[in-house]
């Protein structure tokens, strides 16, 4: 489903310095797998996710999404992106549109669905994330947890084959984290292919098929949650886990 080969990403900062955000990243994620990516701040987790849907353009290497080489300049990246949903740490809802219009918009604009089809699908999804009663309010009137659930519904409206989550609960008050994680868990149960950057180790233990630990742009260690939380091999992994657990 997702494959990266020798992936490199180098940022050039405003004052000319080079930052190696990704260094030789090789991953293979199969259909229906839930992969949790962990690692210290600045280790390249976000950059990795953003490369997968081309929000960030990789400097070198290959990325295949569902068999399509997305670094090939000839492909239509918007088509690929429509198949890959993304949920951001800061929700990024469209503040000038009501909740249901947030979910409708891309269905209408990208998928060219009729208004009735869009609304039907949107209501279905809002019910699924448990926020149907707020369909007509504006994002500013929602709590963080509610906004994030709307953002998930908005991404799901495109019928994506893959969902990417970049620290979806990091901006939330503790009492709201659960409601978002519950939605993500039910998605995982339905067999969605998911790549999740998170510090929620409980979620990783419970849902992940695989955990990937990144540090300084490279993948240091990967394996099942059991392996990770019971006997990690690398010192850096041990250090990181001891700090956050």
């Amino acid at each position: 489903m997702i494959k990266t080969e020798n992936l490199y990403k180098t940022f050039i900062t405003a004052n000319g310095d080079k930052v190696n955000a990704l260094v030789d990243v090789n991953t293979q994620i199969d259909k229906g797998e839930v992969v949790v990516v962990i690692g210290p701040s600045g280790s390249g987790k976000s950059t990795y996710l953003r490369c997968l849907n081309h929000l960030e353009v990789a400097t070198k290497g290959h990325i295949w999404i569902d068999g399509v080489d997305i670094l090939d300049l000839k492909i239509n990246i918007n088509k690929v992106r429509a198949e890959v949903g993304m949920v951001f740490q800061s929700f990024n809802l469209f503040p000038h549109k009501s909740v249901i219009d947030n979910v409708n918009l891309a269905q209408k604009v990208v998928r060219k669905k009729s208004k009735e089809e869009c609304e039907k699908k949107s209501m279905e999804l809002l019910e699924k994330v448990g926020i149907a009663e707020k369909a007509n309010v504006f994002p500013a009137q929602l709590s963080g947890g509610q906004q994030q659930r709307v953002a998930i519904a908005r991404a799901l409206a495109m019928h994506p084959k893959i969902m990417l989550f970049d620290e979806p609960t990091s901006a939330l008050d503790p009492e709201m984290i659960g409601e978002v994680l519950d939605v993500m868990k039910s998605l995982a149960k339905e067999g969605m292919t998911m790549v999740v950057v998170t510090h929620e180790m409980g979620f990783a233990k419970e849902v992940a098929n695989r955990v990937v630990f990144m540090d300084e742009g490279a993948i240091v260690e990967e394996g099942t949650p059991e392996h990770f939380f019971e006997n990690p091999t690398h010192d850096r992994t041990k250090l990181f886990l001891s700090q956050i657990l």
């Binding site: 918007n78 088509k79 992106r81 429509a82 993304m86 951001f88 469209f94 918009l105 604009v109 990208v110």
Partner: protein, 336 residues
């Protein structure tokens, strides 16, 4: 709506005292001014002004042939006078309100006045207002168009677009509008009209070169307004829309512009207030807008004081609705 926060409380006595002071100040200023004009023997003649807004001009109807008045009939609120010459006959019509100077059977010579009527007509100042409005509206519309294209080019990743926009904005903002008007009128107009004449077309009038100068001038400022409006939209929303598969044009249309426009409107309206006032410079290239009309009015009436005050007040009336609009929008922005 009155907002009073605890911090900026002012007690009623101080408030009333200050207001009284303000009003007394205004009255004192006006009094001193009037006394001063008396001292230099200026006679105010306000009665001359209405004629510069609206006149009843007398039109003469002159015979074009020699002959005899054959008939005078009134029908459908118009009077028809038929003059029969040797071989031909002519019919002249005027409104019912007009007055005849001939009766049936009169001998008429070519050039004789058959009748007179009065027709209401806009005066010099009214025409000036209309020209000022016309120039301002056209320039605003073209300025918005240029600014929208310029603003999008300014934030484009394509260096050609971006640098074209930067150079345009800096050139325009770095030189006086008066000089730009001269360049349009004395350089571009000469070239363009010369070429048009050579190709057998009509010349384009000074007004349109004035509109061009104002449009490109306003366009540069609108470019910056549009740019900052677009940049004020949080990048996260743009990424979210792109991650859903929207093209950059769709994102611009559905996400960025609708939000940017609300932020752009107040400074944009402010820009158009400036534009209306700047249009007063066009008198210098023989466009008869309000300021130029005022100067011509002064030449014929010899009453500069009245005319300049009225001119200023007329500009105020033109810009006032826009100021109100700005305030309205700004109030609405606070409560989304």
């Amino acid at each position: 709506m009155k907002t009073s926060s605890g911090l900026s409380r002012i007690n009623p006595f101080t408030y009333n005292l200050s207001m009284a002071g303000f009003i007394i100040g205004v009255i004192a200023f006006i009094t001193v001014f009037i006394v001063a004009t008396k001292a230099i023997d200026y006679t105010w003649r306000w009665y001359k002004l209405p004629g510069y807004f609206y006149t009843n001009k007398t039109h003469d109807i002159d015979a074009e042939i020699k002959g005899i008045v054959e008939s005078i009939t009134t029908k459908d609120k118009t009077i028809s006078i038929v003059v029969k010459g040797n071989s031909e006959s002519e019919t002249y019509t005027l409104p019912e309100s007009g007055s005849k100077r001939v009766s049936i059977g009169d001998n008429i010579y070519q050039g004789d006045t058959l009748a007179q009527y009065k027709k209401p007509q806009l005066g010099l100042l009214s025409q000036g207002i209309l020209i000022t409005l016309e120039v301002s509206i056209y320039s605003s519309l073209i300025g918005i168009l240029i600014g929208l294209i310029g603003g999008i080019a300014r934030i484009s990743k394509n260096p050609a677009f971006k640098w074209a926009a930067i150079v345009y904005v800096e050139l325009i903002r770095g030189s006086p509008l008066l000089v730009q008007i001269f360049i349009w009128y004395f350089v571009f107009a000469t070239i363009i009209n010369g070429m048009l004449m050579n190709m057998g077309f009509h010349e384009i009038s000074a007004l349109w070169y004035g509109v061009a100068a104002l449009s490109f001038f306003a366009g540069a400022y609108v470019t910056e307004i549009v740019r900052s409006g677009i940049e004020s939209i949080n990048i996260g929303q743009i990424e979210a829309s792109r991650s859903l598969g929207m093209t950059s044009a769709q994102c611009m249309y559905h996400i960025v512009l609708p939000q940017a426009i609300r932020r752009i409107l107040p400074p944009l309206a402010g820009q158009f207030i400036t534009l209306i006032k700047d249009s007063s410079l066009l008198g210098i290239i023989a466009v008869r807008e309000l300021t130029k009309a005022t100067r011509e009015g002064i030449t014929t009436s010899l009453q500069p004081y009245e005319f300049w005050f009225v001119c200023a007040i007329l500009y105020l009336l033109l810009t006032f609705p826009l100021s109100m609009f700005v305030q309205y929008i700004e109030r609405r922005m606070k409560t989304p």
